[in-house]
Symmetry: C2
């Protein structure tokens, strides 16, 4: 698997939880759907839980959404799984020369633009809710089985 997939894995998990019809899926079953490892599922689930998007009970398989699907945006999910390292899309190079007029000011010069880009990205993610994703998947699937 590639890097940085926690975000899409989180969406995948939430779709499974949302569509879960009374058959609580274990982390092992979810891992099979996602194509990953049960512990990865539990780790991501833990982040989603901390963010208040999902509720689980220790020892019991599955979980359920804390809010209606329509109220969970992809931005909420993104913020749930991002860590502080990733909190900004771009990393600024670490060791610019403080003795150079450019080197000593490049980092602060880039603050605003990078934040602006980050905000724009997160706002764009607010245009989609979990409901949009589940709806797409359910419709696509029913077409495929027509």
């Amino acid at each position: 698997m590639r890097v940085n997939t926690r975000f899409t894995v989180a969406i995948h998990i939430l779709v499974l939880v949302a569509l879960n019809d009374a058959h609580p899926a274990t982390s092992e079953m979810m891992a099979e759907s996602v194509g990953s490892h049960p512990v990865v599922i539990r780790q991501v689930m833990s982040l989603l839980k901390k963010a208040g998007l999902v509720e689980t009970k220790n020892g019991l398989p599955g979980g359920r959404l804390s809010k209606p699907q329509e109220e969970i945006t992809l931005c909420d999910i993104y913020q749930a799984v991002k860590n502080s390292e990733e909190s900004v899309i771009f990393d600024v190079h670490q060791n610019p020369n403080p003795k150079c007029p450019v080197g000593c000011n490049i980092v602060s010069a880039l603050d605003a633009p990078i934040l602006h880009a980050q905000d724009a990205m997160e706002n764009a993610l607010k245009d989609y809710t979990l409901k949009d994703i589940t709806t797409y998947i359910v419709e696509k699937y029913s077409q495929q089985n027509k």
Copy 2:
């Protein structure tokens, strides 16, 4: 140094080129300002050259901008240094289970939102030009030396 810093290194280089006052900087000098290795500078420079943002002559130190600073947006720079891998902010998990209704459709379900977020980010980068960055740096530096 951290990952993914090509973008900010590229900006740093272009600022040096833009502010370069008749003293062509070698890749070694630039590397000292950036806090990196001369070859990294040449590699990034090569990408900027391919993107038509900068002109250099083999064998000769330094280079010069192909366009006025006002016409080079941070988006232009971003697109110059991104590779196809990074062309999308988020990687989708690679092995969703094709036998699962969710697994077989999650990737295409995420296409639109991810592209939307990517576009929003790139558009936000268009709000800043190289001129904005150099102006900020020059002003900040002159304040510091008042």
